[in-house]
C-alpha cells in the first residue's frame, strides 16, 4: 500500500484509484457505523476520499497513511453528523400500552436499545467506539487517529460504553416506543 501512496502523492491517478478501491468499502463501513445512516455515510466517504487525494502530497510519512486517512474520514463524519444532528426530524417518546417483561427481552430489543443509545452519543464518542470496537484499533492508535491525548480517548470510550450499557439496561425503565410527531 505504501507504494501506491507514494505514487498517488506524485499525482498518479491510477495509483490513487487502486488505493481508493482498497479502502473505500472499509471507510463506508466505518462511516455508517459512526453516523448510523447510509446516505450520510456515503457522503462522508466521498468527502474523505476526495480530501485524501487533495491532501496526499502534504502527507510527510507515507507509512502513516492509515491513521491519517482515518482522521480525514472521521472529520468528514463530523461534518455530516452536524447536518443530521441539527436538522433531523423531531421525534417524541410515548409509553406503550403493554409493559414488556424482562424475560421477553431479546437480541432484537438489545439492538434497538443499542441503536437508540448509540445515537444519543456525540460523534466524538461514537468515533472512539467504532475505531476501538469495530476496527480493533488499540486505544493509543485511536487517540493518534483522532489527534487527541490517550487519556481523552480512554475517557470518551468509558463514557460511551457507560451510556451504551445504560441503554442495554433499559429494561429497568418504562418501555417506550417512538412515533413521528
Amino acid at each position: 500500500m505504501t507504494d501506491l501512496v507514494v505514487r498517488a502523492q506524485r499525482g498518479d491517478r491510477g495509483a490513487y484509484a487502486l488505493l481508493a478501491t482498497e479502502i473505500a468499502d472499509r471507510f463506508l463501513a466505518v462511516a455508517r457505523r459512526i453516523l448510523r445512516d447510509l446516505d450520510l455515510a456515503e457522503d462522508a466517504t466521498q468527502q474523505a476520499l476526495l480530501a485524501i487525494w487533495q491532501d496526499l502530497p502534504q502527507l510527510r510519512d507515507p507509512d502513516r497513511f492509515e491513521a491519517w486517512s482515518y482522521r480525514l474520514l472521521v472529520r468528514a463524519c463530523y461534518a455530516e453528523g452536524r447536518k443530521q444532528r441539527r436538522w433531523a426530524p423531531n421525534l417524541r417518546l410515548l409509553p406503550i400500552d403493554e409493559p414488556v417483561s424482562n424475560d421477553d427481552l431479546s437480541s432484537v430489543v438489545d439492538r434497538d436499545e443499542l441503536e437508540r443509545g448509540f445515537r444519543r452519543l456525540s460523534i466524538d464518542h461514537r468515533a472512539v467506539v467504532v475505531l476501538h470496537h469495530y476496527l480493533d484499533l488499540p486505544i493509543d492508535r485511536v487517540a493518534d487517529v483522532l489527534g487527541i491525548p490517550v487519556g481523552t480517548a480512554h475517557s470518551r470510550l468509558h463514557h460511551a460504553m457507560r451510556g451504551l450499557r445504560a441503554a442495554l439496561d433499559a429494561d429497568a425503565r418504562p418501555p417506550v416506543r417512538e412515533v413521528a410527531q
Binding site: G11, R13, Y16, A17, A20, T21, A24, D25, F27, L28, A29, R32, R33, A41, E42, T45, Q46, L49, L50, W53, Q54, D55, L56, P57, Q58, R60, V74, R75, Y78, A79, R82, K83, R85, R86, W87, P89, N90, L91, R92, L93, D110, R111, L114, R119, R120, L121, S122, D124, V129, V130, H133, Y134, M161, G163, L164, R165, L168, A172, A180, Q181
Partner: protein, 308 residues
Amino acid sequence: MSTDRDATRIVRSWLRTDEHESADRVLDHVLALLDATPQRRSLWPARRIAHMNTFAKLGIAAAAVLVVAVVGYNLLPANGGVGGGPAVSPSPSPSPSHSPTQSLRPEPTFTVGAFPAAGSLSVGRYAITENGVPFSLEVSTTGWRSDGQQIPPDGGAFTKSSGTPQSVWMIFWSIDGVYADPCGHVPGPVLSPSAADLAAAVAGLPATDIITPPSDVTIGGRPAKHVAIRFRDDVGCSPSQYYMWYDDVRCGGDDPCYRWVSASGQRNDVWIVEVNGAHVWIEAETLDAATPETIQEVQQMIDSIQFE
C-alpha cells in the same frame, strides 16, 4: 443488569452486523471527480527549509515578504473587488477591521456575493436572506467555510475549525420557540416574533448559566436583543438529548427543525434582530477552547451586518 464485559461483547457483536456495505457507487463518483480535483501541493516543502542554514532561511523569508508585498500591491484594484473573493454585484462597503496579525494582506475592497451553499468562504461580504429579510455580512478573515446546511427556507450556517475544540459555528435562521422540557423534548408554546420574548425564553432555559442577560443592542441599525448562555454539565441528560429551540413553521414538511446541544459547557450567543415585524435569529456556538481571536471575529461579523 449487564456487566461491563457483557456490554462490550454485545456492542462488538452489534457493530459487526450487516457488514455488506459496498462503496462502489461512491468510488465511481470519486474517481470521476479526480480529474477536476487538483491536489494541494506545498510550495515550500518543510524538508528543504529544514536543511538550510539560518541566513538562507532569512533570505527566503525576506524574499517571500517582498514578493507578497509587490504582488499584493499590484493586485490591489483601483476601484473594485479583490480576486478570489465572492463575485457579483457592486455595493458600498465599509472598511473592515483587521486584527494586528493580518498586516501583509492588502486592504480588501469588498463586493457582495451570494452566500455559497458549501465550501470555503473568501474574505468578502456575503448576502443572506432569512425569514424574508435580506442582509449582508462581512467575513474579514480566512478559514471560514459554509457548511452546506440546507436551513429552510434560506438561512445559512458557517464554521471555522469544525470538529475541533476550537470550533465556532454561526447559524442564521428563525425560530418559533424553545423547549419547555429540553430533556423530555417537550416544546414550549410558539412565541411572538418579538426579540424580547425570544431572548427571555432563551434566558429561561433550565440548566444553563446566563453569561449575558437579555440586553438591548443595535445590529445593522435595527433594534435587537443579545443573550448569551452556557450549558452546565448537569443538564439532566446527555447533551445531544437536550433540545434547545425549534422552528415549527418555516422548515417545511410536518416536522419542526430543532437544535440540540453539541457538548456540555458550550456557549451559545444569540442575537435576535427585529425587521419589519419578522426576526432574524443569529447564533454563535463555541466550546471552551474557542480562542479570544475567534470570539472577536464573531463580534466583528455581527458588527458588520447591514440590512437592505
